[in-house]
Symmetry: C2
Subunit: 354 residues, 2 copies
Amino acid sequence: MSTFLSKRYMSLTPYTPGEQPQDQQYVKLNTNESPFPPSPLSQRLARQAAGDLQLYSDPECRKLIPVAAEALGVKEDQILFSNGSDEILNFAFMAFCDEDTPAVFPDISYGFYTVFADINRVPQKKIPLTEDFRIDPKDYYGAGGTVVIANPNAPTGIALSLEEIESILKANPGNVVIIDEAYVDFGCESAVGLIDKYKNLLVVQTCSKSRSLAGGRLGFAMGDKDLIRDLNTIKYSTNPYNVNSMTMAAGIGAFLDREYFDMCRERIMETRDYARKALEDLGFECLDSRSNFLFARHPGIDGEFLYMRCKEKGVLIRHFTLPRIKDFNRITIGTKEQMDILLKTVKEIMEEER
Amino acid sequence: MSTFLSKRYMSLTPYTPGEQPQDQQYVKLNTNESPFPPSPLSQRLARQAAGDLQLYSDPECRKLIPVAAEALGVKEDQILFSNGSDEILNFAFMAFCDEDTPAVFPDISYGFYTVFADINRVPQKKIPLTEDFRIDPKDYYGAGGTVVIANPNAPTGIALSLEEIESILKANPGNVVIIDEAYVDFGCESAVGLIDKYKNLLVVQTCSKSRSLAGGRLGFAMGDKDLIRDLNTIKYSTNPYNVNSMTMAAGIGAFLDREYFDMCRERIMETRDYARKALEDLGFECLDSRSNFLFARHPGIDGEFLYMRCKEKGVLIRHFTLPRIKDFNRITIGTKEQMDILLKTVKEIMEEER
């Protein structure tokens, strides 16, 4: 820290992204990336755009928005794109929280929510998950602040039903309810269909997981046009050209190529079921994941030990030190071949420890 | 505005980017873009990166930083990249200004500074340019806040000398001095060489102009490692993966291809001198531009009228309504052919008005 840093941020603890070691080739199952490359159409359009970078990208995303709105079933003024969904989540914390409107979210969820609250100097109210790591919708009725719920939740992978989401929306008419659907395409119901009905609903999604564009950085929010206008006010006051031309083109390809999108997510769901069964056969408990990862613990193996030993053997998974979930590891669903390497590695570790 | 927007931002006036009409093909001289495509190496590396977008981009930019640091003559811990230089300027306003540390900048400069101050709820102190549109360094001695100076200044194009910059640094030891060098590569001296000497100096540059990557979005800041660490704290608390993989690759190409970079900026400076002389022959007054644009007025033609008539005739230039500069237009330096079209158009308009 320099002597010049504002006192506003002196005690800020930034977010820690999943590790990306460069020292060897890992089977990388730690940051919930897709094992599949972007759609061939995405790649082609992005490559074409690389030749015209001397011109600014379109801050209004006028070519991307109609294609995305059509694919997602929303109106063009109900959607906004950003440089990854983290940026849009930060915009939403800025726009809809303040000293009088706390951010209300589960104690175990995406670790960035607490950082977004801190950097915006917004009070936060963390609501514990139930004993079995579920979100109880009733805990969010009359929340007295902006509700932020990841659905499915991370790192548990457990989903709320659409009825449960709707009950939270109804019970918070005076506050925005942000549903962060980063992992929604892997077997969970989206709340997008409710945006015409609830003016307080903001749905945030990303192209990083189910559309294989993590490295392109393309997130989006959907909601009533007035909420979208508020987020645009923040965008045009911080970084109007926030989506670059190549990523914009890649996004157009991703939304047009529905077939590839469906193929990727179906393959990932099949592989998830396969890996879950195999882990359960080894004695692991896996939470009921509707995402592209499993959250698993074993009664006989320490969570951090398993993570460390897997890493030594060339397989990266993600361990969190939060006391309530320290027995678990979060394992991204890769290809079947990658999961077989993980399973073989876990078996070896269990045999070594016997 | 929705009923949910925080009172913090209710009176915010966002930045207005230069217009990008889609209704016809314009000779586009309104947003200071380069008339040259990105370096062939930039394009090739960006295209290669498009195939691997399923993996997150490297938040630490470990491949880009050594190449850029070498090209720019700084140490690796003295540089930070961002999604365009607007993002880094916002980070700097966040980190180094607050209620007790106002932002101090010229009354006529990059229009975004006042928006960055507003969105961060930071007081601002605007110092008038001199009668002849120059920055007087003495006006910034003991500024009592974070100094923000574009050098060369926009939209005037006039530059301060390195000695003048240094005098401001010396006279503000307790505050950060941000030198925004978006246009520095077109004939102005960079302050980068001073960062080892002044811990309060932050130099901000962009790849949008001289490196033809406006649509790729790649900005960077250089300064003492403690200042860079502060900016990283902000980055990792808002959007750690802020630079996408394709742009990171394009940036590597741009910094490696020194020859192309020098060729582009030399061509632009030559064309600027050519266009300036031709405009002066038509009776225009042009300020002494060290950038890739001219700021020009004519004693016989209203500034806004000229802008409007040029637009009707298919040539886009930029007019600002601020009273002190409303007689001027800002004209981006394009190719010689584009400038000839501009000159022909201006001549036509002058003849029609006679």
